[in-house]
């Protein structure tokens, strides 16, 4: 069954057809949510909510890139959550366990998604990069992750964020220049191949 047939069936209320679409896109949507939210629990919630919202609003899908449509939904959910967190910050900077002791590696710093091997190899650099991404304003963060991490073209990104191409170009350039400055602080973490490139 191709994508359009699955979408048509899902529009008629066929949940199994929609779940085929979920399986096809869940990694993309989760990764996007993770890069925007900066932590896996929030990404998990945003991904689930995005698929529920997508199923309920499937009749508003007017064709075009289904991937872009899904990404737009999850991006809006992430924006909502970021706004909510800004209004009601709840995470402690120094989390404490039940005994009142400070937790050295709380779950929002550790990355439970990666395997121990991957964590050993990439955790530090990955966290450094994610920290730089987190420092970006949400609008820049969304665009740079869509282009440089998810590999979307400008037109598709414009569709996702609902802005003209010029805005996408501008936000992307500003995000990249900010990241360039931020990543300089983590120069020693870069793999040798990437570091040599920087030194040239």
């Amino acid at each position: 069954m191709d994508e359009s047939a699955l979408i048509a069936a899902a529009r008629q209320g066929d949940l199994d057809s929609f779940n085929h679409l979920v399986l096809a896109y869940q990694e993309l949507i989760f990764n996007q949510a993770y890069r925007v939210m900066g932590e896996s629990n929030a990404a998990d919630d945003a991904t689930q909510d995005a698929f529920i919202a997508a199923f309920r609003k499937l009749n508003t899908y007017r064709g075009g890139s289904f991937r872009a449509w899904l990404l737009r939904i999850v991006t809006n959910i992430c924006y909502d959550e970021l706004r909510r967190r800004k209004r009601h910050p709840t995470t402690q900077l120094e989390p404490l366990d039940d005994a009142g002791e400070e937790i050295e590696s709380p779950n929002w710093i550790a990355d439970p998604i990666e395997s121990p091997e991957e964590t050993a190899e990439r955790a530090e650099l990955g966290r450094a990069i994610q920290r730089c991404i987190d420092d970006l304003p949400p609008d820049f963060r969304v665009v740079v992750t869509l282009v440089d991490i998810q590999g979307l073209d400008y037109a598709e990104v414009a569709e996702v964020v609902g802005k003209p191409l010029g805005t996408v170009k501008s936000r992307l350039a500003r995000a990249r220049t900010r990241l360039r400055r931020c990543l300089r602080g983590f120069w020693e973490l870069l793999p040798s191949a990437l570091r040599l490139d920087y030194e040239e």
Partner: protein
Amino acid sequence: MKNQIKSRDWEVLSAYLDGQLTTREYARLETRLKSDPELQSALKELRQTRNILRSLPKLRIPRNFTLTPEMLRFKRDTTRIFPVLRFASVLAMILLAFVFIGDFMLLSAPSTVLDMEVSNDVYTPPQLVEKAAEIQEEAEPYPGGLAFEAPAAEALTDETEGETRAPVMKVPIPTPTVLATSAVAVMPYPAVGEATSPQESYVESNTTRNTLFRVLEIVLAVIAIGAGIAAFVLRRGTLG
């Protein structure tokens, strides 16, 4: 040195990396790059940044996000309640505003009349009766003791009308207030506290109306605030 590169240049370099320049822009940038080492360095750093981002591994998903009918039912229920609560809150607020306006309008106009009537009743016995007595004494030489009742007494004393007219006009009138109040004092008004008083029944109906307004205002305010808070909490996802 890097600061000399303008933001517009960064934008062009970024688009250049992604092959998003027009042929003309591309040719112009190529020419500049050949002669500008700073621009070359900036391009290299930007490319490097992009490569680092691209080197990020795809994260493995923690679980499948396939939907179940239960998930949809719960979400649908909560999302249906939200607009109902929001509408109820707005409607109650609008009704409350109308009730406030109506309350204010109905109470303000009749209350003036009521105050007058009530004040006449209340203040007549101690002060105005004395004043009325004084005025009555002054009016003794003239036939017809109700000289000061001039306008009010006309309707009440038809038989004395012819004789009292002339003296009444000659008597110096102290003040309009005294005239009015003395008239009230002398007139055979029903005593305060009588069960059949029209003022009392008016006050009674006003009290009932005021009570109804207060109750209505409280109920509407509670609905408006309660539904508003419930909708807000639901929207923020802190319920369920």
